[in-house]
């Protein structure tokens, strides 16, 4: 670990919290403009000070940099460990950027109880950043749960008509997942230390600790049985967050009911916590179980890709549609991840960012028109391109990025993922690629129904086009979308060390682990004799 600039990481993580407390204490709840200005300022500063991470992170340096470490609860070996690798750096930047945008986008959308609203947004920020920073299981878990609370309120207080239901559903689902995860964590913890006497599980007798890196080091020694159960526990926790196929049902509700900023954060960052958890914890610590699970999770992911896309196609509510598209996109992420090869993992990590940018932007866009019409039904619209050309343009760009048009971010992610998936099994790539087709179908159909055709609905006749603020919420995302689409190399460079280490760990722990390139060969070789015969004559 490299402790240089450790303070910076802590500052980034806790600045929003400090801001929230300050706000709570010193800013009058009537002073709406002051509240907005302050919140935005805090988020902006947070973003600005997080930019140095991008430059200071050294790909050839220690695995975890900007680290902080000291005992927190010595009696239990709980430590306060902060530290990030390239992967986390990317996600942190994503978080700070979208946090800023989310706040900036809520100026006019939120008129009621603004003070609490921005306080919760800032708290949420800290929670999310904490998850990406912490390298101690308990610390990780604490942040993981802390972040639920503000999100609950964002949905529940400022959400739509069925907000209560959506909020509690969101909270319960994720909580169930995370508490099971806690059990898994404890099992690992005792396995590393004293063992679980009553079920006759010998421990390794190491000094008790929750430090993630310690578990990296013992990963190969963990017996398969233990790995299986712990993996299961983690899986439920993370899969619910992702969300993977059977656990996704909280997502549409949460998204639909949440206020725009809420949806943006939810889609852009919260979902990433699940995938982050997989990459950071499941894969390196439970390699054996991971390799065994590949088939199942791959199947689930493939199903999710197609399923999400198809269900999205049937939606009448824009936000629901985007929500289900998330299910599909996150399916890609999982697919790439569990291809367990460089391309797959890199793609999947990149796709996390892409999804954050594209879907975040989509929710912003939907929110913008919702703010004007207070209606999200696709049928209500049509021909908007006439009255809101600028809006239509942004929407088009983001649509293209989300359906993976080359030169935009989506393509890079999906392409890399699919190559990775292909090298695992051609079937994966086949299904995945079909997801791309469907993606185009539902997004373009949405675009078609909303922007093209007659401007039939009277209410839409004089909708104002984007104002300057709304544009500024979108421009950064568009820029990033093009950046990743055209020159993703810096991103790949930063995530490369993480990916390599993960793969090394899996390979080190599971000798018979192979990237399954062979069965592609088999299927592809059937025609060989016949073809050769042809050439023979």
């Amino acid at each position: 670990m490299d402790f240089q600039y450790g303070w910076l990481l802590n500052l980034i993580c806790y600045l929003p919290l400090a801001g929230a407390i300050f706000m709570m204490a010193f800013i009058n709840k009537e002073n709406s403009s002051g509240i907005k200005a302050f919140a935005t300022a805090v988020a902006a500063i947070d973003f600005v000070i997080s930019i140095p991470l991008w430059f200071l992170y050294r790909t050839d340096g220690a695995e975890f940099q900007f680290a902080t470490q000291f005992d927190w609860i010595p009696s239990l070996g709980v430590q306060y460990i902060f530290g990030v690798d390239g992967f986390a750096v990317l996600l942190i930047l994503l978080t700070t950027l979208l946090g800023l945008i989310a706040i900036y986008s809520s100026y006019t959308a939120i008129t009621d109880r603004q003070k609490e609203y921005y306080i919760f947004l800032l708290l949420l920020q800290t929670g999310m950043l904490g998850v990406f920073c912490s390298l101690d299981f308990i610390l990780f878990y604490v942040f993981w749960e802390v972040m639920l609370v503000p999100m609950y309120f964002l949905i529940g207080v400022w959400g739509g008509p069925r907000r209560l239901y959506a909020a509690i559903k969101f909270f319960l689902y994720t909580l169930v997942g995370s508490v099971l995860m806690l059990v898994g964590i404890l099992t690992l913890y005792f396995y590393n230390a004293g063992g679980l006497a009553a079920i006759g599980l010998e421990g390794l007798g190491n000094p008790a600790t929750f430090s993630v890196t310690q578990f990296y080091s013992i990963a190969p020694m963990i017996p398969a049985g233990v790995q299986f159960w712990v993996f299961l526990a983690f899986f439920v926790g993370f899969a619910i967050k992702v969300p993977m196929f059977p656990f996704h049902t909280w997502l549409p509700d949460a998204h639909v009911e949440a206020p725009t900023a809420g949806s943006v954060i939810l889609a852009a960052v919260l979902l990433k916590m699940g995938t982050y958890g997989f990459v950071r914890l499941s894969l390196p610590i439970l390699p054996d179980a991971t390799v065994k699970a590949v088939g199942w999770i791959g199947a689930l992911a493939m199903f999710a890709i197609v399923y999400g896309a198809l269900v999205a196609m049937a939606q009448k509510d824009m936000k629901k549609l985007v929500a289900y598209s998330s299910v599909s996109h996150m399916g890609f992420v999982m697919l790439g991840m569990f291809a367990l090869n460089a391309a797959g993992l890199r793609g999947s990590i990149l796709q996390m960012l892409n999804h954050g940018v594209s879907t975040g932007a989509l929710f912003l866009l939907v929110g913008i028109v919702y703010e004007r019409r207070h209606n999200r039904m696709i049928a209500e619209y049509g021909g908007l391109a006439k009255v809101m050309p600028l809006y239509a343009t942004y929407f088009m760009i983001i649509t293209m990025s989300s359906i993976g048009l080359p030169t935009l971010n989506g393509f890079i992610g999906e392409f890399t993922i699919l190559i990775g998936a292909f090298l695992h099994s051609w079937v994966w790539a086949l299904v995945g690629a079909s997801g791309i087709v469907l993606g185009a179908a539902y997004m373009l159909w949405l675009y078609q129904r909303v922007f093209f055709g007659e401007l039939s609905n009277e209410k839409n006749k004089d909708l104002p086009d984007l104002n300057r603020r709304e544009q500024w919420t979108l421009i950064p995302l568009v820029v990033v979308a093009f950046w990743i689409g055209l020159y993703p190399k810096p991103f790949f460079d930063r995530m490369a060390p993480t990916v390599d280490r993960v793969l090394e760990r899996v390979a080190a722990a599971v000798p018979e682990f192979e990237t399954a390139a062979d069965h592609v060969a088999e299927i592809a070789h059937e025609p060989v004799p016949e073809a050769a015969g042809e050439h023979g004559e």
């Binding site: 049937a314 460089a342 793609g347 048009l405 055709g453 073809a531 042809e534 050439h535």
Partner: protein, 697 residues
């Protein structure tokens, strides 16, 4: 510092133009002059720079080798294990290459592209400023994508262009998006193309898996040195998958359906994208990847058969269409069929040759039709036209020339390239290529039939449009007028090329035993991994001439019929009679074999139905079941009744509800009076003791 070192500038110029028109001109609504000046300069520069680069390269470099310019590393996917356990890095660079093939494409794409920009200036002049800017930015953007496509040095970069042109065609088809059907057509085009791209992507993956590289040169070498056919199977798979992509882009069966609808776009767009350039991308790609097809008879045959069948199939539909652009559209499909037919016989050069000539005459035809439509104030139905030759002579002459060319009358461009294709096909039959001789004979026959029909429907078009008397009504007749020079100039240029282009580029030397007179043969040969492609004298001189004669005769026959039907009986009794004689056939053709309807009824409707179904499933069952499991973890099995109920009528609120039920059940224990509680305790205690004994004793 040379032009071809900066080859990547060729796509970049139009990109800049697009950016300007899109971001500045469109936003600020600058006046048209500015807009089209910028657009013209952009595409013009691309043209000049492109030609300069090609010429300079031709004279300074070794043209048998591709000249690759790497701009930057694009995608880096880390080290991967591929076929045979090799470990290679996935490093895809944004790099461009110049070789005979891309030079050829570059040459005519930039040129035709510029002409059509010029043409558009006149054609679109009545659009509002902003839309005008939007149009030109799209057009420039298209140029960028198309040029990337033809200059890209590896599959992914080609794919970028590939998708780029797809996007532009989507945008341009849907240019008049207020019209529901225009937008719909655009979407259709994009999605059908996506289906093709699906194959393309998989092809790329297979290619990487087997060869560890995606650079064309690398692949070429790998296949060239694959002497003991290790990669034969791979070649088949990749070839077929690539061809799936080509089907989409180049509108072959069964994915051709989008092209006719694509005519919804402005006519210059139809000319540029849907006739001259984009749709030929498929052919280009197949030719580019010829090394795969050479190694795989299966793939080759497939290409040939699909091509041939499409050629005839589309032609038959073209016979009876009444929308001038629809006719041309189907003719395009059919011509593309010819190109693939050529590729299918291994005559990639012929295919590319036909691409070029087709760009000339079909571009000319489309622009001509545009001019006609423009002249008739937007009318597209040929039944409402007629006798236009006296109103718009230039258009008429150019149109006629192009028609003759496409009909395959020597020595026009159309004849040269199409005859080359037919000859190669016949030759393939004779040499029993890959042991599929009979099939190739059959394909040759199809080709002939197609030629005849082509001649027929093209002349039908000409007669109905320009001869006879105007059928569009009195006051419409007054408005008919010739188009401005910006429109006619391109027409004339293209018409000229349709006449001489063929002979200049590919003088049919084989007819006179003069090898190497065909420039394009010599020029393109190094790109092709072909064995005995040119100069092969499988066919004797006599037979060569015989073939020529046959095809010409067939074409003339077609023309004659058209003349009988639509020229020398003014009220078209004969065709009507024919239609009544075979009503079914007529209906079938008129309704394009109901393919669209079938597709809509099956695939489209099917998908949507499925999606609806899954949505139901999701909102009811999945939610229900997941919540169900969530609660069954509570071990409260007794609420299962409620659970079923909920799943059935799909209350999403299951968790809370069933908790409620559980909760109420539990609360019943709290009976309310002390003795009751005492009993609960006693029985509880008894139960605990019972458990205890069961376990302990």
């Amino acid at each position: 510092m040379s032009f071809y070192d900066l080859i990547w500038l060729v796509p970049v110029f139009p990109l800049i133009g697009a950016a300007f028109n899109g971001l500045v001109s469109n936003r600020l609504g600058l006046e048209k002059k500015v807009t089209h000046t910028v657009a013209l300069i952009a595409s013009g520069l691309a043209w000049l720079w492109g030609w300069a680069a090609v010429i300079q390269w031709y004279f300074t470099e070794d043209i048998t080798k591709p000249y690759v310019v790497k701009a930057f590393t694009w995608i880096s996917g880390g080290d991967l294990t591929i076929f045979g356990g090799r470990v290679v890095p996935l490093d895809i660079s944004a790099s461009f290459q110049l070789d005979a093939l891309s030079a050829t494409m570059l040459g005519f794409v930039t040129f035709v592209g510029f002409l059509i920009h010029l043409y558009s200036v006149g054609y679109m002049h009545s659009e509002p400023d902003r839309d005008y800017a939007r149009y030109f930015s799209y057009l420039n953007l298209f140029m960028f994508a198309m040029l990337t496509l033809v200059t890209g040095s590896n599959l992914p970069v080609l794919f970028v262009g590939w998708e780029g042109v797809g996007l532009c065609s989507y945008l341009l088809i849907g240019f008049y998006f207020e019209k529901e059907w225009c937008a719909a057509a655009g979407m259709k085009a994009f999605i059908v193309n996506r289906i093709g791209d699906f194959g393309f992507l998989l092809a790329i993956f297979f290619a990487f898996f087997y060869f560890g590289t995606l650079e064309f040169d690398g692949l070429y070498q790998a296949m060239a040195n694959d002497h003991n056919h290790v990669f034969a199977g791979a070649a088949t798979i990749i070839g077929l998958l690539l061809f799936v992509g080509a089907m989409g882009k180049s509108a072959q069966l069964p994915l051709y359906v989008w092209l006719p609808d694509a005519m919804a776009g402005p006519t210059p767009v139809s000319a540029l994208i849907h006739a001259a350039t984009m749709v030929t991308a498929g052919v280009y790609m197949v030719a580019r990847c010829n090394f795969f097809y050479q190694a795989s008879p299966t793939a080759m045959l497939t290409v040939g058969v699909i091509g041939g069948v499409t050629a005839v199939f589309a032609a038959t539909i073209g016979l009876v269409q009444n929308d001038i652009k629809k006719v041309l559209a189907y003719s395009t499909v059919s011509q593309l069929g010819y190109m693939f037919l050529a590729a299918g016989t291994g005559a990639y050069i012929a295919a590319i040759f036909h691409v070029v000539t087709h760009a000339f005459f079909k571009g000319c035809l489309f622009l001509g039709s545009g001019s006609v439509i423009h002249g008739c104030g937007g009318e597209q139905d040929i039944r409402k036209m007629g006798g236009l030759k006296k109103y718009m002579p230039t258009t008429f002459w150019t149109f006629l020339v192009a028609t003759v060319a496409i009909a395959g009358i020597p020595p026009l461009a159309g004849f040269v390239s199409k005859d080359m294709i037919l000859a190669k096909t016949f030759e393939a039959g004779m040499t029993n290529l890959n042991g599929y001789g009979t099939t190739y004979y059959f394909l040759w026959f199809l080709g002939l039939a197609g030629a005849a029909m082509t001649a027929f429907y093209m002349f039908r078009l000409v007669y109905l449009t320009f001869y006879g008397s105007f059928r569009g009504g009195e006051e419409a007749e007054h408005h008919v007028h010739e188009s401005p020079w910006t429109m006619t100039l391109p027409l004339q240029i293209l018409a000229g090329l349709s006449i001489v282009g063929g002979l200049i580029l590919g003088f049919p030397g084989q007819l006179f035993h003069l090898d190497g007179w065909s420039f394009i043969d010599r020029f393109l040969a190094p790109v092709m991994l072909t064995h005995g492609e040119h100069g092969g004298h499988a066919v004797s001189l006599g037979l060569e001439w015989g073939l020529v004669f046959v095809s010409v005769a067939v074409a003339l026959a077609g023309i004659f019929v058209a003349w009988r039907f639509y020229r020398n009986d003014p009220d078209f009794a004969r065709p009507k009679a024919l239609a009544e004689r075979f009503p079914l056939v007529y209906k079938l053709l008129l309704n394009k074999y109901w393919v669209d309807e079938i597709y809509n009824a099956t695939f489209v409707a099917g998908t949507i139905k499925l999606s609806r179904l899954l949505w139901e499933f999701d909102s009811r069952v999945v939610d229900g079941v997941v919540n169900g499991t969530a609660l069954s973890t509570l071990g409260s099995s007794f609420i299962s009744g409620v659970f079923d109920l909920k799943v059935v009528d799909g209350a999403v609120n299951l968790v809370a509800k069933s908790y409620d039920v559980a909760s109420h059940r539990f609360r019943r224990l709290q009976v309310g009076f002390a003795q009751g509680y005492a009993m609960v305790m006693v029985f509880g205690a008894a139960m605990l003791l019972g458990i205890f004994y069961v376990i302990k004793l």
